[in-house]
Symmetry: none
Subunit: 538 residues, 2 copies
């Protein structure tokens, strides 16, 4: 366990799960809790036991299945109902019986919400807080109090908002958390309010920020500057509406920019892995542009600066990416020079052996391909195939003789506006694989799908690992040239083999052609990844 002096409190499993589109199973929540613990947070808010059966089950299973190295599990719930003793409120009993050593109680702190949403009196609300905190403390639990709508409430009636803080602290809450529930605050508002509340009450304060102004991270840091010693965050900033303060950006700033030792040793480097793994579990694509953890967070469009970056990367990055488990990437574009190609090869694990003529050839080829519409920024696998070919180790597992794709809408009555059509695509490929001529035909729901299937079926007898490869993304971009459909098309395809993904790029005047060029490379690269020996004479 960390020192209790500063709390990194995660609420991904409770407030994060409020994000539109997230729907967690109990097993998802257990897996995420494990990851958050790897990252070294001090508290993991698991949900609201008693409010829904899934959260109740989570706490039951967590107490048996979850072995936490760093974090303590926290149950979320509300103060007792108006007019009932805490001891008689079944919702409070569910918190008491959750098995969680810590309870976070949400309390109203804006008089308007007390009267219009809770429909009780200001005094009864204070009594509800005092009674519920005392009751849970008597039963051996530690209590934090989340003051909902605190900042709006403080602006509306500071005296009542302060009464709420004093009541919670006086009843035995360890931390009183000021929540910007509607997310409308800016950092200077937060700094001023937290300072005033700290001076007026002497309570230990925490901060819970929503990101509706795009300032949740800054608001959290402003609260810490003003003396808060407890921050509530969510992985990747997931949360209701725009989201919550991003755990990783907050922990990164406190650790790397403010020198505060808020995570256990060795945990900061888990940041990128944990961020991406949580995204996978909640079934959202990892945000490529997330601070610290995004795949683009340390990506440089090289050009002019590549040689300077090679000499001194720290001149061009705000922190060392390895500290947060991320890596610097050079984006190879038509602005790239030899230096960026060399850095890129290193990143891909290819040894150019200081061959300047070789890297010069690659630069020329990249430039000429980009002129014709290619873009390697998002297609590392294509760049690697190009590098290998220039190194004299071309990767080719098959040779294409011809292919044909037919898409047909069957005769039917006129469809309505936006009507779904009955159509079918069929692709035939003719290839040479290990010296044998093969022909295969497959149906699909579009040209690329049908070609992908035909390609697979033509080779899966020879390369059985093909069954584990899956096309997971497909992008089409029309490039300037002339106009409309009479233009150059760029296609990016992304494949996965379960352990990693790779992207290839194809270009051509015909979208089907461009797709084929990218598909060929994707299969070659995938077969190389699976460890098949390269076979020049396919």
């Amino acid at each position: 366990m960390r020192d209790d002096g500063f709390h990194v409190f995660d609420t991904t499993l409770r407030d994060g799960a409020q994000r539109e589109g997230i729907n967690l199973r109990v097993s998802d929540k257990l897996a995420i809790a494990k990851l958050l613990d790897d990252f070294g947070v001090g508290f993991i808010e698991g949900g609201w036991p008693g409010a829904n059966p899934k959260d109740t089950e989570f706490f039951q299973r967590a107490s048996q299945e979850l072995s936490l190295k760093h974090a303590r599990l926290t149950a979320f719930g509300a103060t007792r109902r108006a007019g009932v003793r805490a001891a008689d409120d079944p919702m409070v009993a569910a918190l008491r019986d959750s098995g969680a050593p810590v309870v976070t109680l949400v309390a109203k702190s804006d008089g308007r919400h007390v009267e219009r949403a809770l429909r009780t009196t200001l005094d009864e609300n204070l009594a509800m807080i005092a009674d519920t905190v005392s009751y849970l403390r008597e039963h051996g639990q530690r209590v934090f109090v989340d003051c909902e709508h605190f900042f709006d409430g403080y602006r509306y009636d500071p005296s009542y908002a302060l009464d709420v803080v004093r009541t919670a602290a006086g009843a035995g809450a360890d931390v009183v958390v000021l929540c910007d529930t509607n997310g409308g605050m800016l950092p200077d508002d937060v700094f001023r309010t937290v300072t005033e509340v700290r001076e007026a009450t002497g309570a230990r304060l925490g901060m819970h920020a929503q990101d509706d102004t795009g300032c949740a991270v800054a608001n959290t840091l402003a609260a810490v500057e003003a003396g808060a010693t407890h921050v509530q965050c969510t992985a990747n900033g997931y949360g209701e509406r725009v989201g919550n303060a991003d755990l990783f950006a907050v922990a990164g700033a406190l650790t790397l920019k403010r020198g505060m030792d808020v995570l256990p040793p060795g945990c900061l480097e888990e940041m990128t892995r944990v961020s991406h793994a949580v995204a996978e579990i909640v079934n959202l694509a990892p945000d490529t542009h997330r601070p610290y953890v995004g795949v683009s967070a340390f990506a440089h469009k090289a050009g002019l600066h590549a040689s300077a970056i090679k000499v001194d990367p720290d001149l061009y990055q705000h922190t060392d990416p390895e500290l947060v488990g991320n890596t610097m990437r050079m984006l190879v574009s038509d602005m790239a020079g030899r230096a960026s190609i060399e850095l890129k090869a290193e990143e891909l694990g290819l040894d150019l052996a200081g061959d300047r003529a070789l890297s010069g050839r690659v630069v020329e080829r990249v430039k000429s391909l980009e002129l014709s519409g290619y873009s390697f920024e998002a297609a590392d696998a294509s760049l690697e195939l190009l590098l290998r070919e220039e190194m004299g180790e071309p990767v080719r597992y098959f040779e294409t003789e011809s292919w044909r794709v037919i898409t047909e809408r069957r005769p039917r009555d006129g469809a309505p506006l936006f009507g779904a059509y009955e159509s079918l695509t069929e692709a035939t490929v003719k290839l040479r694989v290990k010296g044998e001529r093969v022909i295969a035909t497959a149906e699909g729901n579009g040209p690329v799908n049908a070609l992908d299937r035909a390609l697979r079926s033509s080779m899966e007898g020879v390369y059985t690992a093909l069954a584990g490869l899956e096309l997971v993304d497909y992008k089409v971009r029309i490039l300037e040239g002339s106009s409309g459909t009479n233009a150059i098309t760029r296609t990016l395809v992304t494949f996965s083999d379960g352990t990693g993904e790779w992207t290839t790029v194809g270009v051509g005047p015909n979208v089907v052609d461009a797709s084929w060029v990218a598909l060929e490379q994707a299969f070659d690269y995938g077969l190389l990844r699976q460890g098949y020996p390269r076979d020049r004479r396919a």
Copy 2:
């Protein structure tokens, strides 16, 4: 033109285009500039004329094609090379000749970058700044100076960094912009530094923030609090690595939270539309969780609070979504919609005659179509066809019986990596036009091109104005949540008739199908525009 006292300066077209994966055509840049002007920014940085042919062309075309209501166009470029007079530097000449009334010059302000990247002396760097600013001022241009790596430089050697600011201002730069180029600053760093620089130099200061700590918006606001009167932002925060300060979040905070009148009247409400339209043009899915403009930004997982929200929504939102052109959404029982459909119909010039049942039907149909993958935000022509159909005036000039598209790669020797293929597409369509059955076949360089040509040739005898219609853009997006080629495809096609453009949308599991759905509508809408009488019995 706005008062010059505060500058909202947009650099989407220059710094925003540095985002990994964004690759703008000149026509894209012109379209985005138009949208930014609709939003009322004061300055639009269009690119670096002279550094690449595309940006040079942008400035040429902009001076002829772009009519701006609010914004002034700004050219970006560097100070002159070391050891050459500004008057003799062809890159400076390109800025002078760009036709832009304002030039933003980037200057080094961190001594380490001067010596290691620029490889010149500290004094020569100052001379380069003074000489270039003076030269452009003498030629009648207004000059802003971007001090690259300013915050790191100021930390390293405050005295030199201040010399840079004084030199730029002394030579006639209107604004000296402090850039957090590596993006590692936090708001209190920025506030302190901007305050000190303002006090030490008296120069008019601007702020350019990168988002590597997740604080770009807050850093920009902190600079304004410290006295900066010029903010550089990008639409949706697009930019290198993690991105730049988000124009919409910054303008939203200054206007709604600080009461600063930084946009012309009526522009703030354009925010959501402009944000989404820019995303469509750069071919990125609009970020659903973006402050102010995301579709989730005012979405409430209703539950407990639904009735309270109904009584008093302001208790649950930090600002009125209508002020930024967004809408509140209840995720359980959606109540929004009818009002925006009515507004849209008005915008399209259609009279719904206050028919609430009709607008209700349209809302339901739009919702159900959006559920299946449609998006009408960028496809007004499709929405108009839908509205007209619900109004009992369907627009149908022909009926489709069937079509077939064949794409074939002819037998040839194995092509090299990235080799261009010899392929051909042929489309056959069978239609009924004005009661006659017609069959036509055409070749093209891709499925959509071939279908477009076949459709034209089948009907041009009847509708001669078809010859003046041209397909000018075609976009394909694979929708989130689905995987690979086995996914839902959304296609947008844009046609022009020389006097205007219209965009339609099609959706389907098959890209060719989705394209056909969009093409059919594009032809119908185009024929309606040409004034042909609608003919239900085609």
